[in-house]
């Protein structure tokens, strides 16, 4: 009886561990898959200035120029429900230009506003460089 109990425990433990191992393998696979994807997010308000518009245009252009299926651009108005939801998810409170890959996040809002109108090529290069650092 005792042997049966021990065997039962060993078997249960074995099943649990193998499931866990499978899960962590799955997680690993998901993680790899997640970090393969890079999203460039631009959050803005309803009122948009010339620089804000330029930040979005240049960022979109930089992503499109890379011609990669796993790199995407999305713009959100944080005053609209969809944008608000996304901003909460990424912990964004105001205008922001983010590069996100899995759980990693880079905030390049400052650079975006500094160069979008004065040195657009520099901003484009910077965005592509940051995206490549994730790939």
């Amino acid at each position: 009886m005792k042997i049966a109990k021990v065997l039962f425990l060993v078997m249960t433990a074995g099943i649990v561990f193998s499931c866990n191992a499978q899960n962590s393998k799955d997680e690993k696979q998901t993680q790899v898959k997640e970090s393969d994807q890079v999203e460039v997010y631009y959050f803005h308000m309803t009122r948009r200035c010339a620089t804000c518009q330029a930040v979005e245009d240049i960022s979109k252009q930089a992503v499109q120029a890379m011609e990669k299926d796993n790199v995407k651009f999305a713009g959100y108005n944080i005053e609209k429900p969809e944008g608000k939801k996304m901003a909460e998810k990424l912990n964004v409170h105001g205008q922001a230009l983010l590069i996100v890959s899995g759980t990693n996040q880079m905030n390049i809002t400052r650079e975006g506003f500094m160069f979008a109108r004065t040195k657009p090529e520099k901003l484009e290069e910077l965005i592509q460089q940051k995206i490549n650092s994730f790939l």
Partner: protein, 236 residues
Amino acid sequence: MEEALTNLLQNSSIPLLSAFILGLMTAISPCPLATNISAIGFIGKDIENRNRVFYNGLIYTAGRAFAYTILAAVIFMGADQLALSGWFQQYGEKILGPLLIVIGLFMLGVIRIKFPGVSRYTQRYQEKGVSSYWEVLLIGILFALAFCPYSGVLYFGMLIPMTLSSSSGLLLPLIFAIATGIPVIVFAWLIAYTVAGVGKLYNGLKVFELWFRRVVALLFMGIGLYYMIVTYSIFG
């Protein structure tokens, strides 16, 4: 000009200079143009006395300096910078729109409030139209806090981190405010100088000032309406 300032900012290792450049970038960018035009009108409307216009400009800048420094101090003491920045960027101009319309109506004398104790003050304002330095100071504070998208990023995203890490600390918002005020003071003075010259030509400076003030009131209301349209996404 904007490009030259960006280059200067990139190469500047002196925080005081960087704060000054950031202020100039804020002042000359098209983003806060509407508030700057309103400020120029408000500061320059006492055209009968050009010294007064200059003092108005200084007081207006002091108002901006007060607002920027207090805000930086609040963040310095531990307030949530991100939340504050988000709030001001989202609601600053939304509050400004209706407020400009109300101020414009006051200036035109359409709204008359008779509160005990302040009636003397409002009466003086409505009859003579001369603004007290307190009003100019308040306009400075109000316009500074009504962050437009661009100035919001420059202040919260660049100046505040610099203020928090630099030994110059709260001196930086002060320098930033002075730089945002300089172009406004110069334009207000130039306009007052020109308009006063034209008024003198027609021998009716007082009448001219009255009409100039009415134009400024209408300007306030027009810009207020503009802000309401763009921030509340009226008409789509």
